[in-house]
């Protein structure tokens, strides 16, 4: 993964690359799911009602979804939307989520919408919008919300981590008694979703059946001892660890 995804794409070498001020350095992006405090003093959007329901083609809804997912999964937005880059002059919700060749975020957004039998997706997006300054606040607000929203949030995290969909109702049933040992049914969303599961990346590996590494890599350490933790693969993938 590189800094400043957009800038890396063009054909010019490092020496000639321009560095417009509006692009945020990776370090600042790692400091949280939102822009630094300079741009963060924004009031929650009041009384937003979802008459039509979350809309995958609305960049605001998509950004809210990415913020929600990043906060809940503890994974940086840029891992969920690889084309995302941040213009600190704009509010986080007005950023461009971008389109990448795989674009699994769109698949997930549509899937969640289609499987949201309790209409809680809109509520979760609203929580993200209202708390977009802080991932920790998003988590707190989700935990404080009703069961339908809370368990949908868990389904969303599992979707990003595993590429599989666990129905919120099934999760709720198995969470009724803490520490339950039980089978929880699931369905794999698609081949693509399985190969984009994040938990494998987080442990320094890859989904079984989908390696993009080379012969012999397993006899070597996954991390460069030269890299400090925040530069390690894990650090790059996740938000700041408190």
């Amino acid at each position: 993964m590189r800094e400043l995804p957009k800038q890396r794409h063009d054909d010019r070498s490092d020496a000639t690359r321009l560095e417009p001020e509006s692009f945020v350095s990776r370090r600042r992006m790692l400091a949280g799911t939102v822009a630094t405090t300079a741009a963060a003093a924004v009031a929650p959007i009041a009384g937003a009602a979802y008459a039509a329901g979350p809309d995958v083609s609305s960049p605001q809804d998509m950004m809210a979804f990415l913020l929600l997912s990043a906060a809940l999964a503890g994974v940086h937005v840029v891992n969920l939307a690889p084309e995302f880059s941040q213009d600190i002059k704009k509010d986080i919700l007005d950023q461009d989520p971008g389109v990448d060749p795989i674009n699994v975020k769109n698949d997930y957004f549509r899937w969640i919408n289609a499987h949201d039998s309790t209409s809680s997706f809109g509520k979760l997006l609203q929580i993200a919008k209202d708390n977009r300054q802080s991932g920790i606040n998003i988590i707190a607000a989700v935990n404080a919300s009703d069961d339908s929203a809370k368990f949908l949030a868990r389904s969303i995290v599992l979707l990003w981590y595993l590429g599989s969909w666990y129905e919120p109702a099934d999760l709720k049933a198995n969470a009724a008694t803490p520490g339950t040992r039980a089978v929880t049914p699931s369905v794999v969303v698609s081949s693509k979703a399985y190969t984009q599961g994040l938990v494998w990346q987080i442990v320094g590996a890859h989904p079984m059946g989908y390696s993009n590494l080379q012969f012999g890599y397993w006899s070597r350490d996954p991390n460069d001892p030269n890299d400090a933790v925040q530069n390690s693969n894990f650090g790059v993938i996740t938000a700041t660890i408190p």
Binding site: M1, R2, P5, K6, Q7, R8, H9, D10, D11, R12, S13, L18, P20, V78, N79, P82, E83, G98, V99, D100, P101, I102, S191, K192, T195, Q201, G204, H206, G209, Y210, N212, L213, Q214, F215, G216, Y217, S219, R220, D221, P222, N223, D224, P225, N226, D227, N231, S232, N233, V236
Partner: protein
């Protein structure tokens, strides 16, 4: 090959592009070895050139008024020469490009433009004539077919008794090497007509990658495949002794990180370039239509008890061009096809068939072979049948393109077809797509601190191997016929598949802490063909 001096200087544009300089040595046989230049073979143009077309190409329709392309624009582009690297932009920083609404589409457009420029430059006549000149014919030898510019893989990965391969810079030297490697079965025919292209077949010349099967045309003939490399690739291979298995396995190479030289604008470096082409055997009737770029050739059949050397007229049907550049260390993968190879699946579903096709029958009824099925076994060519698959021509491949071209690719094709003369043979060729490494936050298990690893570690700093190539899948209907699709790893994706290419370096199986121990071969399967 004549050097066309005056014409070309006339066409120099204001910005001072570096023109494609053809190598001037070949004018007379008596010329001694030419004065050494810093670069041999193809020259490239290091000036950044973005496409000047107004409007979005990503939608279903071409922007109104875009065609016909203005003559001066057309001239500039058709004669802009071989790009040293891709010239692309997301549209930020005030670039000319950036008219597409999505960054990804902008970049794709830049790559597709680069691909067409590359295709034009490589398929321009070898003698320096412009591609749009009236004298350019369907059978005019192209730059990439010239032995000064590209060399066939089999002439590099030679058996021990013919090693080492040579690539002199003078015509006499190159001709002598060609004679040296002429198969004995072809010698007589070659003498009768010395300008024919020689294609030496091995299994991979008729059996698609990983033995997925041969491709049989509507005349019942095998399609023939060939692989070539440019001088920069050749030099790297020779410098590092990768042309033999023993060389690859030598101690000196056990820690070699195979890294072919990249092309870049700065310094007008061309970098490593490889080609994979597919040919159709043309009947006299097909040759007369001049719808194919064609060459008379001698085709030596694969190794076996009997190896006929078969004179054929070959028509170009598929063209993979792969270029390593400084900003795309995973290389840039371009593919072109003859427009009449196959229909795509949407066309078949809508019965919008405009035959005849090279690898699809519109006439068959209930007796149509299964779509995209491999031929019945046995697959090996029978020397008695020369390059016919079966004596009774009872099987012909029925191939459909699984993934239709995007609107953007079709529009770019329309633009370049508009710029080419209406009677140019190149009207019959189209870009499928360009696959390029997007490097979008990929599954990157590599170091983020540049520089050498600390002593005592063997951590490898490699470019990310697959890193979200765009588009994710790509297949040429003649070269990856049977692995079309969208299943990760199983379906054709240039970068995903070539990312698995390795050579024969020994150390990789006996890793010692602190040492590199690699055997990756920088995205090419060529090294594994060493004997």
């Amino acid at each position: 090959m004549r050097f066309n001096g005056p014409n070309r200087t006339e066409l120099a544009i204001a910005v001072g592009l570096i023109w494609l300089l053809m190598f001037p040595a070949q004018s007379t046989a008596q010329t001694a070895a030419t004065p050494a230049t810093t670069q041999v073979g193809l020259q490239c143009n290091g000036t950044r050139l973005l496409d000047p077309f107004n409007g979005s190409l990503a939608g279903p329709n071409l922007p109104a008024g875009l065609l016909p392309i203005d003559a001066s624009v057309k001239d500039k582009i058709l004669k802009s020469g071989l790009p040293c690297q891709e010239n692309v932009s997301t549209g930020a920083q005030g670039d000319l490009a950036g008219v597409e609404s999505v960054g990804l589409e902008n970049l794709q457009r830049g790559f597709d433009f680069y691909s067409w420029r590359t295709f034009i430059a490589l398929n321009s006549p070898a003698d320096g004539t412009p591609i749009d000149s009236a004298s350019t014919q369907a059978d005019t030898p192209t730059r990439w077919e010239d032995m000064n510019n590209f060399k066939q893989l089999l002439d590099v990965m030679l058996p021990a008794d013919l090693q080492p391969p040579r690539w002199p810079t003078d015509l006499n030297g190159m001709t002598a090497e060609r004679e040296r490697l002429m198969p004995k079965e072809c010698r007589d025919l070659h003498r009768q007509m010395p300008d024919r292209m020689i294609v030496k077949m091995i299994e991979e010349s008729f059996n698609e990658p990983f033995k997925t099967g041969p491709l049989i045309d509507q005349n019942g003939h095998y399609a023939v495949f060939d692989i070539l490399m440019n001088r920069q690739m050749f030099k790297y291979i020779m410098d590092h002794h990768l042309n033999t298995k023993a060389g690859q396995m030598s101690g000196a190479n056990s820690d070699l990180l195979v890294d072919f030289p990249p092309g870049q604008n700065s310094g007008a470096e061309f970098g490593a370039f490889m080609l994979k082409v597919s040919w159709k055997i043309l009947t006299d009737g097909e040759a007369a239509t001049k719808n194919f770029h064609m060459r008379k050739a001698l085709v030596l059949m694969p190794p076996g008890a009997d190896r006929p050397c078969v004179p054929e007229t070959l028509g170009l049907i598929g063209f993979h061009a792969v270029h390593k550049t400084a900003t795309r260390p995973q290389w840039i993968w371009t593919s072109f096809e003859h427009s009449k190879n196959v229909p795509d699946k949407d066309e078949v579903a809508a019965s919008k068939l405009v035959g005849p096709y090279n690898f699809f029958s519109v006439k068959c009824q209930a007796d149509c072979p299964a779509v995209n099925a491999t031929p019945p076994t046995p697959w090996d060519p029978d020397p008695a049948l020369r390059l016919r698959f079966r004596k009774d021509d009872s099987f012909k491949s029925q191939i459909v393109r699984e993934t239709p071209l995007t609107d953007a690719a079709k529009n770019m094709n329309a633009i370049f077809h508009n710029m080419l003369p209406s009677n140019s043979v190149w009207q019959n060729y189209m870009l499928i797509s360009t696959q390029w490494p997007s490097e979008f936050a990929c599954a990157s298990l590599h170091s983020h601190v540049p520089g050498a690893p600390a002593p005592g570690t063997d951590f490898i700093k490699q470019p990310d191997m697959t890193c979200s190539p765009a588009p994710t899948f790509m297949a040429n209907s003649t070269l990856e016929t049977y692995s079309q699709g969208d299943v990760p790893l199983a379906s054709s994706s240039c970068i995903a598949c070539h990312g698995n290419a390795v050579g024969f370096q020994k150390g990789a199986s006996a890793p010692k802490p602190g040492q590199m121990h690699l055997n990756q071969s920088d995205f090419t399967f060529m090294l594994e063909k060493a004997q």
